[in-house]
């Protein structure tokens, strides 16, 4: 048998699962990294947005929401800004 194994080695195809592992890892890590980076960037972005908006209208910190989400395969950044008083609320989306 061993002579046969040596002369006719098994084809690797059936056990070649490393490519699947690589693909799965690349997918899952892309998602996880995006989430991680968002966690660092979003508070900074929120603070800067707040300071810019505050130049023009009265606004408090809890009136702005910055969220990173996804829509199918695309990442979506949602920014919601509320305004006080009689002014009509303005919704920004990008």
């Amino acid at each position: 048998m061993r002579i046969l194994d040596f002369l006719f080695p098994k084809r690797p195809a059936s056990g070649a699962t490393a490519a699947i592992a690589k693909e799965r890892l690349q997918l899952v890590l892309a998602h996880e990294r995006a989430g991680r980076e968002g966690a660092e960037i979003l508070p900074l972005m929120k603070r800067e947005l707040l300071s810019v908006i505050a130049k023009y209208v009265a606004i408090k910190e809890d009136m702005i929401q910055v969220k990173l989400g996804r829509d199918g395969s695309a990442s979506v950044l949602r920014i919601n800004v509320e305004f006080d008083g009689g002014r009509r609320p303005k919704r920004a989306r990008m």
């Binding site: 061993r2 040596f6 056990g15 070649a16 490393a18 592992a21 690589k22 899952v28 996880e32």
Partner: protein, 284 residues
């Protein structure tokens, strides 16, 4: 070479380098690596201490073969019950190597940050290299171990869960280390692939060096082949790097050389050629 290094150790007043050995996932070879790397650095004449950060699960002492010489531990020093020098165990084989054992207490918060910072400061003054053996996970213990690092050795098996956890710990290194907090140069990252089986990589069953490098984008410090000598080494409390007949030992030696800036080709990464004799008669 060796003498040169030893002279260097007494003359050098530059603060020691802190190297954390970490991984996220457990059982990938952190303690084996910490023991081997510290021993390798000491063999080259650098005054080196290896610290066990795995409070409650002390094991570095066993791997280093000094378990019967532990008198005081990390927590004793932090609590002021012992002096640092009383807790450090001098290796019986290599003059410039010391082991700093952890405590077996179940109190996971026993490693107080100020106490650890104080110890690390003292060690930086007295040693060339301080190798920190991190516990698994991303809890307090692992964070404490990586906090003071100047460089990090990420130990990874070519396997999905280990690679994913390595990615996680890389993110933590970049965000939660002392260097990150102080806005200094980031912690230098080194990837060490362990339990690598060139044969299985060749047949497409195992992630290759290039695969892991591509996924994690961290430079490779070394590749340690799957080897029976690793178990043999821990059985006897001898860091595997001292077994220079074993591929794993020699691969660790290469990794230490690269850590110190030498250029060395990767070895033991091609599948072993089966001789016709072995193929026919089945002697593995």
């Amino acid at each position: 070479m060796k003498e040169e290094g030893q002279l260097g150790k007494t003359a050098s007043k530059t603060p020691g380098q802190v190297i954390v050995v970490t991984s996220g996932k457990g059982g990938v070879g952190k303690t084996t690596t910490a023991a081997a790397v510290a021993t390798g650095l000491a063999l080259r004449g650098h005054k080196t201490v290896v610290i066990d950060f795995d409070v409650g699960l002390r094991n570095l002492d066993l791997v280093m073969g000094c378990e019967r010489r532990v008198v005081f531990d990390f927590i004793n020093v932090i609590n002021g019950d012992a002096k640092l020098n009383q807790a450090l165990i001098r290796d019986k084989r290599i003059e410039t190597l010391y082991v700093f054992p952890t405590s077996q207490t179940r109190d996971k918060d026993a490693l107080k940050p100020e106490g650890v910072a104080n110890v690390m400061q003292q060690l930086r003054e007295g040693y060339d290299y301080i190798v920190c053996d991190s516990p698994a996970g991303i809890e307090r213990g692992a964070l404490t171990a990586l906090y003071h690092a100047d460089s990090a050795i990420i130990v990874t098996n070519p396997e999905v869960s280990s690679v994913r956890d390595s990615d996680r710990i890389l993110g933590i290194l970049a965000a939660k280390s002392r260097r990150a907090e102080l806005n200094q140069q980031p912690v230098k990252e080194h990837l060490l692939l362990t339990r690598y089986s060139a044969g299985r990589v060749a047949s497409g069953e195992m992630l290759s060096i290039d695969d892991v490098k591509e996924i994690l984008s961290v430079p490779i410090l070394g590749v340690i082949p799957e080897s029976e000598s690793v178990l043999r080494a821990s059985n006897t409390g001898t860091p595997v790097i001292l077994d220079d007949a074993s591929p794993a030992g020699r691969a660790y030696e290469d990794a230490v050389a690269r850590l110190l800036g030498e250029q060395r080709e990767l070895r033991f990464v091609a599948p072993a050629r089966k001789s016709l004799f072995r193929a026919i008669f089945g002697r593995a």
